[in-house]
């Protein structure tokens, strides 16, 4: 098991290399001139050229990539072109709000989707099932920012129940933190809940038609132990897979959500960096995102063996 984990982690290195080269090339091709942005509107061509030279932007493509890579391998993701601060430091400063938003969103997703999915499968074909499926279709179709702005309009502006924007650390003021997290987590979580609920339903339906469920009923088990003890554990593998994918989707969603709700997280950092053509920051953030993504995938794979004794890693 341990050797499996180590091998999987080692396998992330080529993945991350390819990702980094891809991002680097994309920014190179994508254009936009950070030097011009830094110099401002009134700067002369000579001044811009000077800045470009000092930033090393005139070096050949591959040599720039190799320089960046060597530094990155030593844990140095470079400096922000804009604030001159180390990228690692910038990211670390922004990690907490994003991590917290991810956690609260996942709580929303799990609490909402799994019970709904089980309920729908249990009541398959009946009104409850149809209601859950309608929720799933609507929830999945409405974009995050629509849910966000509608939520802000009613809960914050009209009824003044929740703060409009911003972020408070849970370590400073927990109730205030919760207040700030309700709308962003719901906005982000709705789409994902819809997705996870659908998969839970489908997976449970499949399991409920199995012979061992008939055996469970023939023992005299009621619906609750039949669903939760016998069916859910068997249905878990696809559900966990989709939850893993949901976490990955969350990374994209976080960018939008943090922007709408003015949460100073990694998502906001990314958007700001893209708007300023702050290449080292974009690069660093995307690399971290990819690493998290790979880790989530590994965690999902490992969790399979918790649910299904037939799956063993060696």
């Amino acid at each position: 098991m341990l050797s499996y984990i180590l091998r999987r982690l080692a396998a992330t290195i080529p993945t991350l290399l390819i990702v980094s080269l891809f991002i680097f090339s994309l920014l190179y091709i994508g254009g936009g001139d950070p030097a011009a942005m830094l110099a401002g509107g009134e700067a002369s061509a000579v001044e811009v050229e000077k800045i470009r030279e000092t930033l090393g932007l005139n070096d050949p493509y591959l040599s720039r990539y190799m320089d960046w890579l060597t530094a990155a391998l030593q844990g140095d993701l470079g400096q922000s072109l804009y604030s001159q601060k180390p990228v690692t430091e910038l990211i670390l400063q922004r990690v907490e709000p994003t991590a917290m938003l991810t956690v609260t969103t996942m709580i929303v997703v799990l609490v909402l989707s799994i019970p709904l999915g089980i309920l729908a499968a249990w009541q398959a074909g009946r009104a409850t099932d149809r209601a859950v499926m309608i929720f799933a279709v609507v929830g999945f179709s409405v974009p995050i920012f629509v849910v966000a702005y509608v939520g802000i309009y009613f809960f914050s502006v009209q009824w003044r129940l929740l703060p409009v924007q911003g972020y408070t650390s849970p370590f400073e003021d927990f109730p205030d933190f919760l207040g700030h997290m309700v709308l962003p987590s719901l906005a982000l979580g709705l789409t994902l809940s819809a997705l996870v609920a659908r998969i839970t339903r489908a997976s449970m339906l499949e399991v409920l038609s199995q012979h061992y469920i008939r055996t469970a009923r023939a023992k005299g088990l009621g619906d609750r132990p039949m669903l939760l003890r016998h069916a859910l554990k068997n249905a878990a593998v696809p559900i966990v897979t989709v939850i893993g994918l949901a976490v990955a989707t969350l990374i994209g969603g976080v960018v939008v959500t943090e922007t709408v709700f003015a949460i100073p997280g990694v998502g906001r950092l990314t958007v700001d960096a893209i708007l300023r053509r702050d290449f080292p920051v974009i690069q660093g953030v995307l690399l971290v995102f990819s690493f998290v993504y790979v880790l989530v995938n590994l965690a999902v794979d490992l969790s399979y063996s918790l649910f299904d004794p037939r799956i063993r890693y060696r």
Binding site: R214, T215, A218, K219, G220, L221, N234, R310
Partner: protein
Amino acid sequence: MTDTAPLLSVRNLQTRFRTDGGEVHAVDGVSFDIRPGQTVALVGESGCGKSVTSLSIMRLLPARAARIAGGEILLNGENLATATEQRMRRVRGNDISMIFQEPMTSLNPVLTIGRQIAETLELHEGLTRREAGEKAIHLLASVQIPEPKRRAAEYPHELSGGMRQRVMIAIAIACSPKLLIADEPTTALDVTIQAQILDLLADLKERTNMAMLFITHDLGVVAEIADHVVVMYAGRKIEEAPVADLYARPRHPYTAGLFGALPVLGSSAGGQTDRLNEIPGSVPSLRSPASHCTFAPRCPRSTDLCRAEVPPLAGQGAGHLAACFHPEPDQKGGTA
């Protein structure tokens, strides 16, 4: 034996399935009794309604597709056909338990063997988890599983098909049921394992005086295990007799046809292979209730009467009934 009150009495059972083309009369007016300690075999080919009959007794039919449209299922006088789901949960696994045709898929792959047995004990006998776990090991031993303690901690995929069927039997007998329904329990197993499972069931019956409803299409198995046989065709009971009597004098042409389809040892002597006899045609659709003998289209003895009226069940000797206008003659005299 006939004067003891029946443990289970199925009376005029009607089970119907909803399909796009209308209701299918899967079981149409089937009646039989099972006395305490008795083994009744329910025999017939695929699709004749024998499994549906057993699932009706357990009330395990798919709720949205099937319904019991009429008749009674009396367990010690209590009608299970109209019992509440809550009541049925006390009956299932406790008074009546069931083993199935598919040992490979009937156990939950993600729970240990011991857990799956113990669960029933916790549910019906109110044992603690620990007590139930210990009793589960004893039950594994009683179905002759070697190293029961180690096996109890294993998962179904670590066991062979025969072992799994033994585990199913252990689950079924955990709460000492009065009736065990065995739905083709040996069909999916090797012949040698089949014999072992049949021996085990016979042995358990002897020790516990449990009654058994044994569903099968295998007449060889019937001779080994049953006291009494009910033959079904197209959702109806067409013949019923004590096992020895049925084998000696099958009266319904369908039953006679089933016996004719059995291979006889030494029948291919002299290098010349005889084809086994078959019953021509196939089972009719069950869309509408029968208005004539459903076997008539395949029957060598059928007449216009058979195609016009449903033959009633008529007495053919002690405990022997057959639904046929022209029953097979008594073959004892050898005048075939």
